[in-house]
């Protein structure tokens, strides 16, 4: 059979393709694609310039970090999303939060035998700063919260419980459900709580209140005080304000189990 000329067939095909694209309403002309790729190149080198200029600032200033994070959020980027990659390598953002995460774990482990694995964000902040020394980089509570969120995602048993305007950081995978959380929030004001207080504030049955308090005792998060006037009180070392600045003594250190 006599073949049709290539030219005629190709033109016909092109017309068909164009017609199909027009149908869908998306027409990407070749020059547009070239244009876009040039823009991306410029964008990338601008970003690299930005990174080298601000790498120092990111490590030094917690305020800058907050603004940087917020900016990233607006454009839909999570600088901590992966260990490798532009943000992590160019800016060292990942490193900063990784190191902070390690520090947080160290502090929580050192105090776990005292507070059962529950610590206020304030105390954690205070101790992390102390551990970093006078000349180290500034670390804000915002930084801590982000680092903890990362730890949580990595499955390190970390959690954050909102109490009294701040957070309690949980570093052991104790099972704390909504009932437990709500009682912790109630206890935050005075550092302790009683069955009557729970019944009055939360309108619970006695059994429900006792169940929660027993669980907190069992998890080592609360201690029983049976010499309080009226009825027993349940105190949380994590909320005991006199404890926050006390260092771990050698005796205590010996008690810490691996």
């Amino acid at each position: 059979m006599h073949r049709r000329g290539v030219g005629a067939g190709a033109i016909a095909k092109k017309k068909l393709t164009e017609a199909r694209y027009k149908e869908r309403g998306t027409v990407l002309a070749e020059d547009q694609i070239v244009q876009m790729s040039k823009q991306l190149e410029t964008f990338k080198s601008n970003l690299e310039e930005f990174a080298s200029k601000h790498k120092q600032e990111i490590r030094k200033s917690s305020q800058f970090r907050v603004q940087f994070q917020e900016m990233c959020a607006t454009i839909g980027v999570d600088p901590l999303a992966s260990g490798k990659g532009f943000w992590s390598e160019m800016l060292g953002v990942g490193d900063f939060y990784y190191e902070l995460g390690v520090q947080i774990i160290e502090v929580c482990l050192a105090l776990k035998h005292r507070n059962g694995g529950l610590i206020t964000l304030d105390e954690l902040h205070h101790r992390v700063l102390k551990g970093r020394g006078k000349f180290a980089q500034d670390v804000s509570q915002d930084d801590l919260v982000r680092a903890i969120k990362k730890l949580k995602v990595m499955g390190n048993g970390f959690g954050m419980i909102p109490v009294g305007g701040s957070y309690l950081v949980q570093s052991v995978p104790a099972e704390l459900n909504m009932d437990h959380t709500v009682v912790l929030q109630l206890a935050e004001k005075k550092g302790y709580v009683s069955v009557s207080e729970i019944r009055e504030s939360l309108k619970w049955e006695r059994e429900r209140a006792c169940h929660v308090l027993d669980h907190l005792l069992k998890e080592g998060l609360a201690w029983l005080d049976s010499q309080a006037s009226g009825e027993p009180q349940y105190w949380l070392p994590a909320l005991f304000s006199e404890l926050t600045s006390r260092d771990v003594t050698p005796e205590e250190a010996n008690q810490i189990s691996p």
């Binding site: 201690w223 029983l224 005080d225 010499q227 309080a228 105190w235 006199e242 005796e251």
Partner: protein, 174 residues
């Protein structure tokens, strides 16, 4: 130097025997440590249990909490098991508190003796524990029963010999 109370001392539940086993374990360890530190600080070598109950250690008036007799006995039993306490009577009313073991005392005494080049000298027990020369030493004021045990420990090591003299006991160091 004033005594430094541990954080638990101001924590009201510390004076209630904890129902949770793990927490109780930590609590007892802290009580043992506190009792020994307190005795060390105040150079107490014997305790009368009734008096102890009223002492600041077990009776914290500021926060209106005190350790029950039952709990005190449990703490003392822990100390006994660790070798830091010995009952003087079957009824458990008085006890010896060894915040330092006899071997450790012996070592301190011998260090002082050799530092002052007094090896081969004979001392009376009184001179050693209550003499002017030893006033600044930690073992100054050491009670007789502990002193003798410490010297006996040194004797086992061949570093001393306890001798009986006319009016009491003495010791010679080698």
């Amino acid at each position: 130097m004033s005594f430094e109370w541990p954080w638990q001392y101001n924590f009201p539940p510390f004076f209630t025997l904890q129902p949770n086993v793990d927490t109780r374990h930590k609590q007892l360890a802290a009580w043992c440590s506190l009792a020994l530190s307190y005795c060390r600080h105040n150079k107490l070598y014997t305790l009368d249990i009734m008096e102890a109950q009223e002492s600041p250690v077990f009776n914290h008036k500021n926060i209106d909490r005190k350790l029950s007799m039952e709990a005190i006995l449990i703490v003392f039993e822990e100390l006994r098991k660790k070798g830091n306490l010995e009952w003087l009577d079957k009824n458990k009313t008085r006890c010896l508190v060894m915040w330092r073991r006899p071997e450790e005392w012996g070592k301190l005494i011998y260090q002082w003796v050799s530092k002052n080049s007094m090896v081969n000298t004979v001392f009376t027990l009184y001179e050693l524990a209550n003499g002017d020369d030893t006033e600044s030493e930690e073992f100054h004021g050491l009670e007789d029963w502990m002193l003798i045990r410490s010297l006996q420990a040194l004797q086992m090591d061949g570093k001393a010999e306890v001798i009986t003299m006319d009016d009491g006991k003495g010791v010679k160091f080698f």
